[in-house]
């Protein structure tokens, strides 16, 4: 039975080419791997190898023929009568994805339309039983307590990073962990972010529950490839086979007078990546409850802390197992005139602004997003429906920010509820300067949030 040899595609985008040269003649015996022809495109010349064994019985396209369409039968190979699975069907790249490799087709009529994305409702915070006592705890201690509790209950959980063990943490977040859990589970790494982020990610793939501390997220830029390409995408690329339950954590955002390279908010960067969970808590109870949830999650989590908040104290409920839902925002202060959405350090400024506004007769509602991905859209929209005015306060750059995202959500899904344009209060769009006065000018503060809130209330 004759095997049809067809014009091959040499690249994903090739549609036709020149049959430059036949290296075998009719009647020649062909072995698998023999080069039988040369094919040319405008980009390259490539060799066409035989896969089957047999005799080249008929050449159908002469050498030198131009514009031979991919899939055209160019020759016949007479097999030895031993195999053959029927040759592949017509090679028209069946049902190509519209737009794939071409700048066209995405919204063609009759094109493939994506099915509805399944929706999930965020869970609510668990009720705190009546009579629960609270202990004033710093955010730093709350984070440590959350980690320690999970390490006690799950032997797979371990911490690795620079100075996390003997030094007790560059910002003392891992204080005491080495003493309790020993060097096997509290691992000092060399200063080698890309490497240890990869090692942590690989350990998660291998079944452990690593907590990878970055001394600050600024240094995680050296490791972002593993966070995005290795950790976030593997579950999807493996069709759900290979999980990566790792927590990347550390301080994020501007510290104080450390200059541009050590002062940046990566929330929007990571929040743009499908496959990641991104958490950025403000107070101690949320820091602890969300840290515990992050460690238990089967998904990779980026946990963004803030150095300037580490030392602040807040009440934490005295519960054996205080775990909070990921993906759920929290109303920090109820109000009816304007909504201020924020996260991380910005929440403190938003609350301060709300106090000032209250003194001026404006009743502001403050929402702490807590999780940046998945974002609790519903909480934002519900509040907007109530107040009809919204401001976002974000300690970070304005361009392509969480603030931009919130504005888009309000436009797309809350337009009819808006009585004023949504405003964003963000850092100035410059690298963070060192000089004290310039730094102060560049960063957000409560006064700016107050001004924006008054503007959307048309109260200035």
């Amino acid at each position: 039975m004759a095997i049809e040899l067809k014009m091959p595609a040499l690249s994903p985008t090739m549609e036709q080419g020149t049959l430059a040269k036949w290296l075998k003649s009719e009647g020649d015996a062909i072995e698998p791997g023999d080069i039988i022809a040369e094919i040319e495109t405008d980009k390259a010349t490539m060799e066409f190898e035989a896969i089957d064994e047999g005799v080249l019985s008929k050449i159908l396209i002469k050498e030198g023929t131009e514009d031979v369409a991919v899939g055209t039968v160019i020759a016949h190979l007479e097999g030895e009568g031993e195999e053959t699975a029927a040759p592949a069907p017509t090679p028209e790249p069946a049902d190509p994805v519209p737009g794939e490799g071409k700048d066209e087709g995405r919204d063609e009529p009759g094109g493939v339309s994506a099915p509805e994305r399944p929706k999930t409702e965020p869970k609510s915070d668990p009720d705190i039983p009546e009579g629960t006592t609270f202990t004033s705890t710093t955010v730093r201690e709350a984070l440590r307590d959350g980690m320690a509790e999970e390490m006690r209950s799950d032997p797979r959980v371990f911490v690795m990073g620079e100075e996390v063990a003997e030094y007790q943490g560059a910002y003392k977040v891992t204080q005491g962990l080495l003493e309790e859990f020993g060097p096997k589970r509290v691992i000092d790494t060399p200063i080698t972010e890309y490497g240890f982020a990869g090692v942590g990610t690989g350990a998660a793939m291998g079944g452990l529950r690593p907590i990878v501390e970055f001394m600050t997220f600024n240094f995680a830029m050296q490791a972002i490839d593993h966070i995005v390409n290795s950790a976030a995408k593997t579950n999807y690329m493996s069709g759900g086979q290979m999980r990566c339950p790792v927590v990347f954590r550390g301080p994020n955002g501007a510290a104080s007078r450390v200059g541009a390279q050590h002062s940046q908010n990566y929330g929007p960067w990571y929040a743009s990546v499908p496959g990641l969970i991104v958490i950025a808590p403000y107070d101690s109870a949320d820091a602890k409850g969300l840290m515990k949830a992050a460690i238990r999650s089967e998904d990779p989590v980026v946990f963004l802390e803030n150095e300037l908040v580490y030392g602040k104290s807040f009440d934490v409920p005295d519960l054996d197992d205080h775990v909070l839902p990921i993906g759920k925002a929290r109303i920090m202060r109820e109000g009816s005139d304007v909504t201020i959405v924020s996260y991380s350090i910005g929440v403190g400024m938003a609350l301060e602004a709300a106090e000032t506004l209250a003194g001026e007769g404006i009743d502001a509602e403050v929402i702490d997003l807590r999780t940046l991905r998945p974002l609790d859209k519903q909480a934002v929209l519900t509040s907007l429906a109530k107040t009809n005015r919204l401001v976002i306060a974000e300690e970070g750059w304005p361009t392509c920010s969480i603030a931009s995202e919130i504005i888009a959500i309000c436009m797309e899904e809350g337009f009819d509820d808006l009585d004023a344009p949504v405003l964003r209060v963000c850092n100035e769009d410059v690298p963070l300067p060192y000089a004290a006065n310039l730094e102060k000018l560049a960063l957000i503060d409560a006064d700016r949030i107050v001004a924006a809130a008054k503007k959307v209330c048309y109260a200035d």
């Binding site: 040499l10 371990f158 290979m242």
Partner: protein, 373 residues
């Protein structure tokens, strides 16, 4: 001219290692342990270079290498027909590396990780060629449900952890797999493959440092196929004898002819024993040759046809083993029968891959996250 993998390291060079090591030892004698054994594995390997396989083992190696060869040829053909898209990196020529090394693994304990040229490593596990080919054609029955493609395939069942598209990333990830072996005290080791191109990535050395520092059970394997995409090793690498690159981290190196499956297996025995004995990582350099372009769309203009033909004619790993098998009394007919059987398996995998349905549209949204939030 490319280096000849089989003869790349002359005996004279091997002989020169000792005085060099001695000199270094003298210079740092105060800090050096007396048993610093960077070269002991090479010496042990050199003493017995070809694995003493029985005929059945050799027949199995032959069968597995042939499966990879025929599978990859078919993949190339399906690519040409437009049934496989994107990037597709074929393993043709390098078969002895995966088979020689992976045949020495303990399948219940050990893990493997590699880069994007991963079809051969999966086939070496005995994973059904159908689900691999169906992944290449992007079908629901593919091992990654059609969502990974050629470069992103995994089998946690076999402890095969991919299949990674970023050059060198699998080395650090492999370090993590090794850390998990050590942490769990499961007695397993991680075999982490990377190419001569990846060998110039910084994270490889970050991982060497941590692996040696923490005594991780990992075997680093440089598959030196002579070209980092289109750049010959001598144009990209200041030190082309890659097995030496662990020296700064006190990782012993081994220099192995990757075109002879029995040599590869013999080297694997030495390396794996070292790691299993708790002596820390090993760096193996497997000198091999890729017959095809870097990927399907690479015309391979950076080398001559004669160079490739010379490799095929004089160093082909399958032909080499075939010769050994015939010397031991196997007949051409017996080997031909294997070829016929393999062709049938590969043809069936291609049929399956062509005729399986594409993933359902709903699969677009599955597996992004494991949990619901």
């Amino acid at each position: 001219m490319a280096k000849q993998p089989a003869s790349k390291k002359s005996p004279a060079k091997s002989g020169a290692k000792k005085p060099a090591a001695k000199k270094q030892a003298d210079a740092t004698a105060a800090q050096d342990d007396p048993d610093f054994v960077l070269h002991s594995l090479q010496e042990e390997f050199d003493a017995n270079k070809r694995f003493d396989a029985d005929t059945d083992q050799m027949m199995e190696f032959y069968r597995q290498m042939l499966l990879i060869r025929r599978f990859e040829e078919k993949a190339g053909q399906l690519y040409g027909l437009g049934l496989i898209g994107g990037f597709c990196h074929l393993y043709i020529g390098q078969e002895a590396v995966a088979i020689g090394l992976q045949s020495a693994l303990d399948g219940d304990k050990d893990s493997v990780i590699t880069g994007y040229r991963d079809h051969g490593h999966m086939l070496a596990y005995g994973i059904d060629p159908k689900v691999i080919m169906a992944e290449l054609t992007g079908r629901e029955a593919g091992i990654s449900k059609g969502k990974g493609g050629s470069m992103h395939m995994f089998s946690t069942e076999h402890k095969f952890y991919g299949g990674h598209g970023i050059v060198g990333a699998q080395v650090a990830l492999g370090g993590g797999l090794a850390l998990a072996h050590q942490y769990n005290e499961d007695g397993g080791l991680c075999l982490a493959y990377f190419g001569d191109g990846a060998a110039n990535q910084g994270q490889v050395y970050e991982t060497f440092n941590m692996a040696a520092l923490w005594n991780l059970p990992i075997v680093f394997v440089v598959e030196d196929n002579q070209y980092a995409m289109g750049t010959a090793t001598k144009r990209s690498s200041a030190e082309t004898r890659f097995h030496r690159r662990g020296t700064a981290f006190r990782i012993p190196g081994m220099d192995v002819n990757g075109m002879d499956v029995l040599e590869v297996r013999a080297a694997a025995e030495v390396a794996f024993k070292h790691v299993r004995d708790g002596k820390g990582p090993v760096l193996m350099e497997l000198n091999t040759y890729r017959y095809r372009g870097h990927s399907m769309s690479d015309p391979a203009k950076y080398r001559t046809r004669e160079e490739v033909q010379d490799q095929r004619d004089h160093h082909d790993p399958i032909e080499r083993l075939k010769k050994t098998l015939i010397e031991t009394g196997k007949t051409e007919e017996e080997l031909k029968a294997i070829d016929k059987e393999i062709r049938k398996i590969v043809a069936e995998s291609a049929d399956f891959a062509e005729n399986s349905p594409e993933p359902a549209p709903e699969e677009l949204y599955t597996d992004v996250l494991v949990e619901e939030y």
